[in-house]
Symmetry: C2
Subunit: 331 residues, 2 copies
């Protein structure tokens, strides 16, 4: 597998695009199933997404060079590209074309990247390592990292509004992403998560509270990825309902797995500091349920998620495979 090459020779061009070895869209997986061949295999999907993210962040001279470099560092570095791939897969499940779904895919990845940059700041989670590299503020300073997040968030909406067609779908996509990134979702979840870490140990809340935090902090953007993919493919109300239902369940399973990796994963594989949540006394699923029960809960959620997308038939096989991959991942 050749590493993905960015067009402008940026300094991390040579990193491979993960997690290809396990990707559910790889040709061997497809060949073994009765699934009609997806429009692109996984390597191609990652490369298509990375190329589009690269194009969308070239900027003209009005963007100061250090800011541009920092934006591209935060966005184009190695990542699972889970959310943009979910956008493309949801679109494909509804019979949509990749080209039409690509702006929405890039927009959600930008929102995800912005949230990581801001969450890593010293005033927030204070993390030094992300995706196996120093965090944005460690390389470019706090002021620039704050601005990187701001710029990525604004760019996400600019792209949706400009490049999704037709315009009424573009507006609907902006509304969905605006809500998912807002005070009652992504930002609210981070705020609640920070508050739970500061609370006395006996007041850190219940399983319901923990699920509520992650439904917002992680789940909302994953759910929105599915919804956007459906919207750009002109999905029916029933199809959107199936996709968002799948998104909610997969989002929660993803977070449980994140917590499990924080306990059991190695820093080298995960690419960020591990055991940090439990060290900080944050509420986590293994803390509340125990390790094995958490694994079992995640598996149940994935089964339910896969059940929801059966209505799409073979076109939803990539979504089905990705859901199963999410709970078996090592990073």
């Amino acid at each position: 597998m050749l590493p993905h090459q960015f067009s402008d020779g940026f300094r991390y061009v040579a990193l491979p695009c993960p997690p290809l070895p396990l990707c559910p869209l790889c040709p061997n997986v497809v060949a073994a199933s009765t699934n009609p061949r997806p429009q692109v295999d996984s390597a191609e999907a990652c490369s298509t997404i990375n190329d589009a993210l690269d194009r969308y962040t070239r900027y003209d001279a009005d963007c100061p060079a250090p800011l541009r470099e920092a934006i591209r560092y935060a966005l184009l570095g190695p990542g699972k590209r889970l959310r943009p791939r979910l956008v493309l897969m949801a679109s494909e499940a509804c019979g949509g074309q990749i080209e039409a779904a690509l702006p929405a895919a890039c927009a959600v990845e930008m929102v995800h990247a912005y949230s990581l940059v801001h969450d890593d700041l010293p005033a927030m989670d204070d993390d030094d390592l992300r995706r196996g590299r120093p965090t944005c503020h460690k390389v470019f300073g706090e002021a620039t990292a704050i601005l990187v997040g701001d710029a990525l968030l604004a760019r996400a909406f600019e792209i949706l509004a400009s490049d999704v067609r037709p315009p009424d779908v573009a507006a609907r996509c902006c509304a969905v992403l605006g809500r998912a990134a807002g005070a009652c979702a992504l930002v609210g979840g981070q705020s609640a998560d920070l508050a739970s870490a500061e609370a006395p140990e006996d007041q850190r809340g219940s399983l319901a509270a923990l699920k509520g935090i992650h439904a917002r902090k992680t789940g909302a953007l994953i759910r929105a990825s599915l919804e956007l993919g459906g919207l750009v493919a002109a999905a029916s109300a029933e199809q959107l309902s199936a996709l968002t239902g799948y998104g909610e369940l997969v989002g929660l399973a993803f977070q449980i797995t994140d917590d499990l990796l924080d306990v059991a994963g190695s820093q080298e594989a995960v690419g960020k500091r591990v055991a940090k949540d439990s060290d900080r006394g944050k509420l986590t699923f293994p803390n509340l349920l125990g390790y094995e029960a958490s694994r079992s809960e995640a598996a149940k959620l994935i089964d339910a998620a896969c059940g929801m997308i059966e209505v799409f038939g073979p076109r939803a096989r990539p979504l089905d495979a990705l859901a199963k991959l999410i709970v078996s991942r090592e990073k």
Copy 2:
């Protein structure tokens, strides 16, 4: 003049909505001109804007209470409401209705409020005072202040996308605001401004460089306010061109006046720390041009701006009066 009352009894409800005494839309100004009476006078416009901002930030229980309180502290406190009033005035110049322009007016004020919260952070301009009150991070902490900005930015797009009609205009508005808030405009200007303050004194750049910084940092959002007001009123290409031309000139004049107030204004009147830019060695218009030449430059820009909107006839009188007010303001 009764102070504006917020609906939920928030703790700063009793502050008056400035700067009413000098407002170009006040009845006495209107009565003295041949202008057809505007749809609302200034007090009514401020009250309408504040009511809408209030409604747009009530949030449901998914938004943690401290975050909600901090968002409303940053957004609903006293302010000139210059940008939302420009949206309403631009719409009115093109024959639009206030109700149709109000979502766009609130969206630009949210972007402005977010940018102030982030710019005031210790890692950025490190300001303790804003609009006569402690800055958001001084009251609620840095983590919450970062999240407040993020939430306001996302909410601005959600509102534009959901409440501007028809949807193709909503999408166009999101694209305009996304660009104005992005890395080549608002965020890029702040980044360039921070870099200029850190540069050695003899490398702080020229008048062209300073204008370039402020065309992005201040000008882009003021220009976008005019463009959004035109768009929601179905302005023609010629009308949009006149409005954005006015916006660019007024934006620059506004920034020159800001620099002059930083030199000559009192902290009490301005509501934020004064002489901070010159103390920090930041590039400013008075530093480069001298005080009187800066005043004269601002006056020339305003004359040119007012010339650009003559095509609208009497409907643009509020824009004309506001432009003149901008250079004579004391805060």
